[in-house]
């Protein structure tokens, strides 16, 4: 390919001086509401911790996801904010411990509040963002008032303020989850947290790449859910 010498360019690198605007990446927020009540003790909590570690690992190894995906963690039994919304760079190992009852209603209300605040921060800083995702993972039933939380979930889904997903583990009360989540709750196969988080990180990676006009399609939860 040496036959292009008949064209002499005025400057071999005329576009070399171009620089880019320093621009904050659009954010893709994901909130995990994790049941850490006493019944999760033993292998369940170990697998959950491993799954979360894996999840952060996957996000850290993706050049766009590490800048765009923001994860927040709330555990309940009692309700605690383990991590505010942060990109995967700021990961610390949460080492969740299973103890207490299941204040699911309070956790959901707290989570929705966190999403609302985060969106306000994005707007104030001129950062664009994707529709937030909330994942509720529980192996039991709420031990507190949950109807008001369910109403907030319905309201948020209707207004497209967020997308809410419920995952039931073991003996989770799927009937109540159905009343909380507008979307059909999914039952985790055994303790396949690792497979679930693998699926979630893949979904977050593709969501964080989506461009205007893209519909974000979640892959089917094959491999970790009971159909």
């Amino acid at each position: 390919m040496n036959n292009d010498t008949n064209i002499t360019l005025p400057d071999q690198q005329p576009l070399g001086a171009v620089t880019f605007a320093e621009n904050p990446e659009p954010r893709c927020p994901c909130l995990l509401l994790l049941d850490t009540s006493g019944s999760m003790a033993g292998q369940a909590i170990t697998e959950l911790n491993n799954g979360i570690r894996e999840f952060y690992n996957e996000l850290q190894n993706d050049s766009l996801a590490i800048k765009r995906v923001e994860v927040a963690l709330i555990s309940f039994g009692p309700v605690r904010v383990i991590s505010e919304f942060n990109t995967a760079e700021c990961f610390f190992d949460p080492e969740l411990v299973a103890v207490g009852d299941t204040p699911m209603g309070e956790a959901i209300r707290k989570g929705i509040e966190m999403i609302k605040n985060r969106k306000e921060q994005y707007r104030a800083n001129g950062i664009s963002f994707y529709r937030p995702w909330i994942f509720l993972i529980t192996d039991g039933e709420p031990t507190d008032e949950w109807q008001s939380a369910a109403a907030m979930v319905r309201e948020g889904e209707n207004a497209k303020s967020f997308a809410f997903f419920a995952i039931g583990v073991h003996k989770a009360d799927m009937k109540i989850l159905k009343q909380i989540s507008v979307r059909e709750p999914v039952k985790l196969q055994g303790l396949k947290f690792r497979e679930f988080f693998q699926w979630l990180s893949n979904s977050m990676k593709s969501a964080s790449r989506s461009n205007p006009g893209d519909r974000i399609a979640l892959a089917s939860p094959i491999g970790w859910s009971e159909i």
């Binding site: 400057d11 005329p14 171009v18 006009g213």
Partner: protein, 253 residues
Amino acid sequence: MRWKITHASVTGKAHTDRGETGQDYHKAGTIQFSDSEFFIGIAADGAGSTTDGGRGAEIACETLYAQITGLVRDVGDLSCISDKDVRSWITSSRDAIAAEAVQHGKKLRDYACTILGAIAGNDRAIFFQIGDGAIVAGSDTEYKTIFWPEQGDYANSTFFITDEQFLDHLHVFHEKSPDEIALFTDGLQNLVLSFSQKRAHAGFFRPLFEALKKDPENGFPGFSAQLENFLRRDDISARSDDDKTLVLAVRTG
């Protein structure tokens, strides 16, 4: 007074990775009318979630370009062109897309795309836009965005010519003709606009316009090839894996 132009569309990694073709399209050129020359540039970005957004973008650019050149040749003066003319071009382009959709048994929204348009003569210029991407106008050292990219509530939503309420999101602006014009689709907007300061990044536009001004000939094929290579550069792909279109015009003489 003449215009020097260059333009390129490249397919983003998001599409090439999935073996898809790009969904950006553009059409740009100049027409001579007595002693003045007019620049006409149109760019469109087909929606990523659609089957035929790329085709919608192509129909939109081609039909808009044909209508605009027709009217400019008829009237020869941009001050005679009103917002109503722009609305009527957009409406007939949308009709052309709808006709093809019907012909293929598809829905209009399968052809969703954004629209960016610029027409500039000696004194006057007209700009229009639906959705995201942006148009930047420069005079000497000042660069300004004509319209800011219009997004929906979320980062991955915007407005399209195929929308039901498309005229509500059509923005039209008339002003004194600038010396430099750039049209670009959303694949570039995060790199070349500062969202926190809400302005065009001069460090991007100035060297590009300078290089085009220094380029010896109008339509010199080497320059658009360089522009294409530039848009494919790794540091650009790392920041945006979407399709990218850039149309540049500078006034000479």
